[in-house]
Amino acid sequence: MMKRLLILLTATLFLTASWALAGPVKIGMITTLSGGGSALGIAVRDGFKLAIDQEGGKLGGYPVQLMVDDDSRKPDKAKQISDRFIKKDNVDIMTGIIWSNLAITVVPKAVRTGVFYISPNAGPSLLAGKGCHENYFNVAWQNDNLDEAMGQYVKDKNFKKVFLLAPNYPAGKDHLKGFKRFYTGKPIAEVYTKLGQKDYAAQIAAIRSAKPDAVFFFLPGGMGISFIKQYNQAGLTKEIPLFGPAFSFDQTILSAVGNAALGVMNSSQWNKDIDNPANKKFVADFKKAYRRLPSLYASQGYDAARLIASAIKAVGGDMSKKDAFRKALRKADFDSVRGNFKFGPNHHPVQDIYIREVVEEDGVLTNRIVTKAFADHSDAYVGQCKMK
């Protein structure tokens, strides 16, 4: 009797275990696919999907089910989707959020329920410092990273009078703070504009009269396109050089900015000409699949998927082994398209950051790496993270 019960019990256990194994790993992606900024979300999604397609519907050798939903850049909508992914669809992993304000709304609550969140873009200081969590990983950067590199570069190049420009919202202030952390001189002006502003004539006139020797700006999306075009039309591009993080010089944006961006220096953790086999394969496969050059965001989406693949492989596709999965993510045992990559204690990247120049190649505007600004660069908030 006892023996039969034992057999039954083992059989049931075996059955449930194999049932768990048979189901695909569920990944929920919340990203921006409509409205302003949709180009970013689409790039992340395409990069992520490419990694799955390369393995024929699998990641790390095990089948995955990718669910994608559009947050329209709205925090409340992102929260709804997140609740549905967690409660109804029982996802194991979430990813995809582009904007820091959406990430702050969604991520802390989601990771507390036991879901893993891999950020392919947004890296607000809160989640890198005080609000860090064992189930939260950022595969792109902490928000300030690229600006820090630019600050270092502008200082090294001996620019004495720098004019700073950013939109008046938390991320804008973070980015300028990042720049000032490494540019130790005192900027001659620090101007905050309305978020979503289109006409920069007033600021451009102010720049002209302030006579700086360099302008550093953080204006993501359409704001940057408008600013660079108008700056060039005012004839200032030749007089006062522009500097900024990669966002305004990304592949998705350059074609809309046109030649006004030529020669501008910008900072990035990735570029398509970084020489390693993973990057070569990524760039070639992306071009083949989507018939366009991959953007920075696509590279981040791709790396997010490759990171997840490495951890799925490590646990043999069994997502019930959460501790083992987390340990595998921490190891970051995958070939990042940017080359050197590892996680710091707060689950944010320790990586190299480059200075790029906008150039024209075969009639298409793109970026070329000029120099390496930082090697193995971490972030300023890692000390504030007290992870359990």
Binding site: T193, G222, T252
Partner: protein, 306 residues
Amino acid sequence: MYLLLFCQQFLNGLQFGVMLFLMASGLTLIFGIMDLINLAHGSLFMVGAYLCATVFQQTGSFMLGLLVALPGTALVGIVVEIFTLRTLYARDHLDQVLATFGLILFFNELTKIIWGPRALFLDVPEALSGTIEIIPGAPYPTFRLAIIVVGIIVAIFLYFLITRTRLGMLIRASATNREIVGALGVNVKLLYTLIFGLGALLAGLAGAMAGPLFAVEVGMGEDILILTFVVIVIGGIGSIRGALVGAILVGLIDTLGRAFLPALFKLFLDPATADGVGASLDSMAIYILMAVVLAWKPRGLLPAHE
């Protein structure tokens, strides 16, 4: 030094005002005469910019783009009027707001389906690409001056159209009493379609002229639409003159506020606080202006018919 900067900023404000006028003149015609709240006016602005950018990319000519964008946008406007808006004239404003808000979503998605999610490139025409030292020591982009000139031409054209032509007379008459105009044998339906087409054409012109300055992207008309509504409320609904005065006023206050408010607050606050307060107050400046104007003249500065 400060005078030079002030002159530049004044010119910037004037140019922004003219851009707003191009939008506001069409919207005020539609709102004032047809009594239709058209939230989709910003979408027509976007259509104008996209059409111009598409032709520009194919041919490299901005002027050709403009020549296609103007009738193209007018045509889109006319089609929209005939198929969706006609049924809404008799309904109340809330229904119109709902329906035209739906049109915004429709146009945004359609634009994304046709042109993709990335922003398009539109450059200033070669002849207008340089700068002119209209104020000595402060080169000003030629294209922005061209916008001011175009705005003035449009203002004069509309003035003649409304006051000197038969069509203008009918427009004025139907603004006052559309039933009587209809009873006198005028085809009011056709008249409304024409007015809407004219409004769309002006929005398309504004969009095409804005394309080289701004990012040509999905949803580009929505920010400017809000300002445009402020303009026509300040100027007086249905009044072209009001739209002109309101647009210049809003353009100047918005630009000058942006330029000088932080500096003003720095006189008696520390720089960080001054930047914050200045930036916040300048976002509110035009709405404060609107509140003041409405308190003083509830029907706007220059209402269409007193």
